[in-house]
Symmetry: C2
Subunit: 350 residues, 2 copies
């Protein structure tokens, strides 16, 4: 079943406002979720809407949060998100990073006491219209085991970098630091398929191709082995040790049916955002001309299979967005049912 | 055969000064190379010394380079390295980044017209005594194929992030963005061993376990597939498109027997360095206390094999350094022979 972006956006706004969120914040949160659906990142769009509501009902998400800057220099800030949604505070924090970059060349904002911020790409891409490079990352509920460990210690901790181009679409790399994100396991579960070796391990640390392994105490494996562990750990430290949020195994779970641990070392989950003015390094037109040359040359690199073109990071998502803006957003049965139940509970129409 | 750090440092200085490098610069370059040998990164230490000399003899490395700042804001700078060695200019650029961080919270320096800068960790770690987070990356000669391509388009483009801790050693992740660095292939070649699937592909883009595949037109594969391609590409863009250096397939080869391509889009190779003051985000003592807690908790995470401890990024290198400072640096036969030939040619004693 296909839904238009506008219809889902309106519904998402209504859901958030009916939880007490101010309209402007609800629109912002809906923008972030719908950008995921438009770009084809179905796991991070309206499929998560009822999850945010459950966090609110459990008293863990503050829908009327008043974030505040608790530490600041000309190029940095630390924000306390007041237990609000990352969907709302991260775009505001990115605006602050952009403002600082306008003043001194770059701006960097660490955020504590937050909740899930949706897709990392939304926030990093906010830098692009300003001819800035955008960077965003977040920590997340522990699912990934460090190398040589069988314990879930890190989230899939994504990192995104967005670079403006000239005539080409921007270059946007947005990646989890695990080999596979949870969304890919869910797809395999629905299709009753085995998953490739290297995605998960059992609760004893053995290899597994079972897509349901996480349900029996297994863990995700870091991207490419120990390097992914190091990278995911760095995201955790920048997002949380630097901001004053919870880190490692203490990151509060996104699902409301699991309670946070006791004796937490920080507040909520953490994000880290950055904006760098291109013309703080070289004239923006030069940069964009060379980005175009970079992109063209990589597109023309010799293919392994003549029928499979070489893609630029971000390219599949831009193509998907063109299609879905025209044809609408397909919701699978479970997501549609979930949203209908949400509508009924809150007295809304989907 | 074991050599003391001091003996190799003195020899390295003499080699560089005999090529016309000022003594202070030669000491700096030797520091960077010896730090690699001490830390156990044998591929990036004195094993490369004769390679730098050959670049000088080929007229491609300027041993008396006068680097200059060509663009600047309060938190950024772009440096033209005057065709000098990255070994010399990168530490100076890192000093500038640290200076800017002292003033406005963070400092970021892009470098063009440079040559190989040694191990990334040396530069990032310069931030640590200042209670700053250090970041360093560089592009490099093309050996890695983008996803779906069989052409060498990217270097192993390493990225390093260094975080200070309190009572623990600092956390230092220093990683190539390919599955395997060239040094690992060389070890397999020496032992006449097969390499794991996923490290290289043939010139036609087929899977291979042949450690000599690069010699017949094969290519390295990016870390964990398309994510590593995106990450290595981002390092290329930050290091070179942003600084005005060469990028992608145009990066000049480190080996002097291969000539750079014609119609280059930039100057030399590029690096990107950053320093962030911890107390631009939260008090440094708080940060270091929580880094200690982070490290302790990860060390204690449940092991897969009770006899294999969980390691913190950077930990193996700190241990190796303790050993090698006491016992000396072991040079393999080929490296020793190479250095002896270099000594003879330049009229020096190893």
């Amino acid at each position: 079943m296909f839904y238009s972006k506008d219809r889902l956006h309106t519904f998402t706004c209504e859901v958030f406002t009916s939880c007490g969120m101010p309209l402007a914040d609800a629109k912002q949160a809906a923008d972030v979720l719908l950008s995921a659906d438009l770009r084809g990142i179905d796991s991070h769009g309206v499929a998560r809407l009822s999850g945010y509501v459950r966090l609110f009902e459990a008293g863990r998400a503050n829908m009327n949060a008043q974030h505040k800057v608790i530490h600041e220099t000309p190029s940095t800030a630390t924000i306390d998100a007041d237990s609000g949604l990352g969907l709302v505070v991260a775009p505001k924090a990115m605006d602050l990073a952009i403002e600082k970059a306008k003043n001194v060349g770059t701006g960097w904002v660490a955020i504590q006491n937050s909740n899930h911020f949706g897709i990392a790409a939304y926030h990093a891409m906010k830098a692009l219209p300003h001819d800035m490079i955008g960077i965003s990352m977040t920590n997340a509920s522990p699912l990934v085991a460090p190398t040589y460990s069988k314990e879930r210690m890190l989230g899939t901790n994504p990192i995104c970098m967005a670079f403006p181009a000239g005539s080409h679409q921007p270059f946007i790399v947005d990646m989890a630091t695990s080999n596979a994100a949870n969304g890919k396991l869910e797809i395999a579960q629905r299709l009753h398929k085995e998953i490739p070796l290297g995605w998960v391990q059992t609760k004893d640390g053995d290899e597994s191709v079972n897509a349901n392994e996480l349900k029996s105490g297994g863990s995700l494996l870091p991207l490419g082995g120990h390097k992914g562990y190091g990278l995911g750990a760095a995201v955790d430290i920048l997002s949380a040790v630097l901001s004053g949020a919870n880190y490692g195994p203490w990151v509060p779970p996104f699902v409301a049916f699991l309670n946070p641990l006791e004796n937490l070392p920080g507040n909520g989950i953490g994000h880290f955002l950055g904006a760098m003015r291109v013309d703080a390094f070289r004239p923006a037109d030069d940069f964009k001309k060379h980005m175009d040359q970079w992109i063209s040359r990589f597109k023309e690199s010799q293919r392994v299979d003549p029928n499979q073109e070489v893609l630029i990071p971000g390219e599949p998502e831009f193509r998907m967005q063109l299609i879905r803006e025209k044809e609408g957003i397909p919701l699978n049965e479970n997501v549609e049912k979930d949203l209908q139940e949400l509508a009924q509970k809150l007295g809304l129409n989907l």
